[in-house]
């Protein structure tokens, strides 16, 4: 081979690789972190529906195992490289605001109008989907996080009634403990203890106080916040099973299935997990609203966001988001996962008994409240989770004081930076 032929060969190869990679970048992809189990099954079903609706603009999925943190890292890197996906799975509230403020998200006002977003989504959902009045994502998956699941056989065998308020919850815990059963599961990590804290917080400060904490107008060293911590300490924390902090939520879920614990306050995905373990809803397990949240629905939610841009990939992303709001797509995802659809027009008969009950809770709730952590500035939300886990492990006065000092200093710093949002 002559030098010239070799050079031309290399040039052709380089050109082919360049065009090849460009073609890859143009492909419409959905990035998400639903890597396994019922969530992966749900996403596959949802994509079958959306690609059926948009057969001329199909979208492929790419999974980033982990959680929202890994997703954030992937999106951040792709934005730096100028090659974001057509759509991605996102959190709501502050998670959307960060990207929207930087101009990285495509406002979805047109899609919102076509899907009648104001009519099909509950008020609480709308509040945290909008940034500066513009919808920045399409909600597709919603789980209530204010319910306490219980193993029916364990409660029945020990003559324990389903609790209806704080006093009966503590009494149920005492009865189970006396019978040699650990009363209430929890799991290690910065989220679960925080979700468990919300009922105590709302019981103390009410719905307005909940939003006041989210918008930074309530201080962490206020008597109300201390009172909420006291209630948390004397109720749920006092009920927690031994060694809960060394378990993942699935391991604690196994404890509930095995009858090693009686109850477990967790998001609705626990119902899906127990069904996979062979537990029948309403037969083997059920749930009740945590005290103080009987007429409320506190939710965790996933949305699809569309990075700003133009071209076929973005158009495919927008078409995908619109299709994902349909009742068929939302049903396809939420039924396998065991969650419920944010779209209120989805027929509740598609759910199992537990899902139907949760769906009714969402529809009939006096207030639908977004998960507090996603309404707080990211730094404060994360710190609150860590501090509440620490408090749940060691609910001493010393820990409480250190926690309040840390959180209040951060709140003041963020307030000075005008970082809070009035959702």
């Amino acid at each position: 081979m002559s030098k010239r032929t070799g050079f031309l060969g290399a040039l052709l190869l380089g050109t082919a690789l360049t065009f090849g990679s460009t073609a890859m970048a143009e492909e419409a992809e959905l990035w998400h972190f639903f890597s396994s189990g019922s969530e992966a099954e749900g996403l596959e079903a949802l994509m079958a529906v959306t690609n059926g609706i948009n057969s001329d603009q199909p979208i492929t999925s790419r999974v980033f195992p982990g959680n929202i943190l890994e997703m954030r890292r992937a999106i951040q890197t792709s934005l730096m490289g100028g090659n974001p996906p057509a759509a991605y799975g996102s959190g709501f509230g502050y998670e959307l605001k960060i990207f929207a403020d930087a101009g990285h998200l495509r406002p979805l006002d047109d899609v919102w109008e076509r899907i009648r977003g104001d009519e099909i989504f509950p008020e609480g959902v709308k509040r945290v989907t909008m940034v500066d009045g513009h919808p920045m994502g399409i909600p597709f998956d919603l789980s209530l996080i204010n319910n306490i699941f219980f193993n029916k056989k364990v409660l029945e065998d020990n003559g324990v009634e389903v609790p209806t308020d704080w006093d009966s919850l503590v009494a149920a815990c005492d009865a189970l403990r006396d019978a040699g059963v650990q009363p209430l599961a929890n799991a290690g990590g910065p989220y679960w203890s925080m979700y468990n804290f919300y009922p105590a917080l709302i019981s103390t400060v009410g719905v307005d106080g909940y939003y006041a904490l989210a918008d930074g107008s309530m201080s962490f060293d206020s008597p109300e916040f201390r009172e909420a911590l006291d209630l948390f300490r004397n109720t749920l924390v006092s009920c927690y099973a031994e060694n809960w902090s060394g378990k993942s939520w699935t391991q604690s879920g196994d404890d509930l299935v095995n009858g090693d614990v009686g109850m477990f306050m967790m998001g609705m995905w626990l119902g899906g997990y127990m069904r996979q373990a062979g537990f029948e809803p309403e037969v083997d397990f059920d749930f009740f609203p945590a005290p103080g949240t009987e007429n409320l629905a506190i939710f965790q939610m996933d949305l699809f966001a569309i990075p700003a841009g133009t071209g076929p990939a973005t158009e495919a992303g927008v078409a995908f988001a619109e299709a994902a709001a349909s009742t068929a797509a939302q049903a396809a995802f939420t039924v396998p996962k065991g969650s419920i659809a944010p779209n209120l027009e989805v027929d509740p008969s598609i759910y199992d008994a537990v899902g139907a009950k949760a769906s009714a809770e969402l529809k009939n709730a006096e207030a639908v409240l977004p998960n507090l952590v996603f309404m707080l500035p990211t730094n404060l939300g994360t710190e609150l989770g860590v501090q509440l886990e620490r408090f749940a492990i060691d609910p001493s006065e010393e820990t409480e004081n250190e926690m309040i000092t840390t959180l209040e200093a951060l709140r003041v710093e963020l307030q000075a930076e005008n970082a809070f949002v009035k959702w």
Binding site: L69, E70, R72, R73, Q76, L79, I98, F99, D101, A102, G103, H104, G188, G189, P190, E242, N243, W244, S245, G246, K247, S248, Q251, D254, D255, N258, D260, T378, N379, T382, E383, V386, Q387, E389, R390, I393
Partner: protein, 289 residues
């Protein structure tokens, strides 16, 4: 001059992928930036000062030092012990060689998943075995107790990484000339004397490889901790690398995370580089003599 042309590509790659990121990280550490916004705010040394005064950062540094001590002593010592035992020509040597080295081939995330189940505090393998042999009182909340979680993680790393030290030491032992051992035996040296006076000094090149890499591993330890506990519970098992990742992507404070990276670079430079230099000199000395 002509030969220098061949160095242009590697030099460019080195500058692009090694020097530029370090300079860029240092530049970032002087700013407040969420990694997403187009604007960065200059804060000078503010990030460094904040970390310097923060108990959370001190705790991570202390944990890194604990990991350094652990890495230098535990996997290296156990690897040497296993290599010496196997070098004595026991039966099924090939089988044990595979068994000792096998854990090192397992990816960190899989090791974390395995040990999360081993350390499950109620029904995990370790607690179950302890209960079975009547030592249930020794069972702990392995990954949930802030006071012991780092030691538990070290246990899983010991299982995971000892195989590497074992393999290097074993290869080193097999390369020691038999004449040296035989001469010592003829002179009437005890096995203990032979090990410390003959075998161990001749293993010096292997020791340097093992300890040098162990020291580097201690500074960059990340994956096993992140995949097992994410630095928890409540920061208890955090090291600088996991804190850097959490602050960068969990809190979107790229400037502060970059400052941790700079601290890590400096601390690694202060702790590790003099050690590597010293050890390398010792190798040169031992080869000369």
């Amino acid at each position: 001059m002509g030969h220098w042309i061949y160095l242009i590509v590697p030099i460019c790659l080195y500058l692009m992928f090694f020097v530029v990121p370090i300079v860029w990280t240092f530049w970032l550490s002087l700013h407040s930036w969420n990694g997403i916004s187009r604007d960065m705010k200059w804060v000078g040394g503010g990030n460094f000062m904040t970390l310097f005064l923060q108990p959370r950062f001190h705790h991570a540094v202390v944990n890194n030092i604990a990991w350094l001590i652990f890495y230098l002593l535990a996997p290296s010592g156990l690897g040497l012990l296993l290599a010496v035992i196997l070098d004595r020509g026991i039966r099924f040597e090939g089988f044990f060689r595979i068994v000792f080295f096998l854990p090192f081939t397992v990816p960190a995330v899989a090791v974390a998943a395995i040990w999360r189940w081993m350390y499950e505090p109620t029904n995990g393998l370790i607690t179950t075995v302890l209960n079975t042999v009547g030592l249930g009182g020794w069972a702990q909340n392995w990954l949930g107790d802030p006071n012991i979680v780092t030691f538990s993680l070290m246990g899983s790393v010991l299982w995971w990484t000892t195989g590497f030290a074992f393999l290097v030491f074993f290869a080193g032992l097999r390369n020691i000339p038999v004449e040296c051992i035989e001469a010592a035996q003829i002179e009437g040296a005890t096995p203990w004397q032979i090990f410390w006076r003959v075998t161990f000094p001749l293993l010096w090149p292997s020791t340097i490889i093992v300890l040098g890499l162990a020291a580097i591993d201690a500074m960059r330890v990340f994956d096993i901790i992140w995949a097992t506990t994410m630095g928890g519970p409540a920061y208890a098992s955090e090291v600088m690398a996991t804190q850097m990742y959490e602050i960068a992507f969990g809190r979107l404070e790229m400037g502060r995370a970059s400052a941790i990276a700079v601290y890590l670079l400096v601390i690694a430079g202060v702790l590790i580089m003099p050690y590597i230099t010293y050890m390398s000199r010792r190798v040169a000395d031992s080869e000369d003599s």
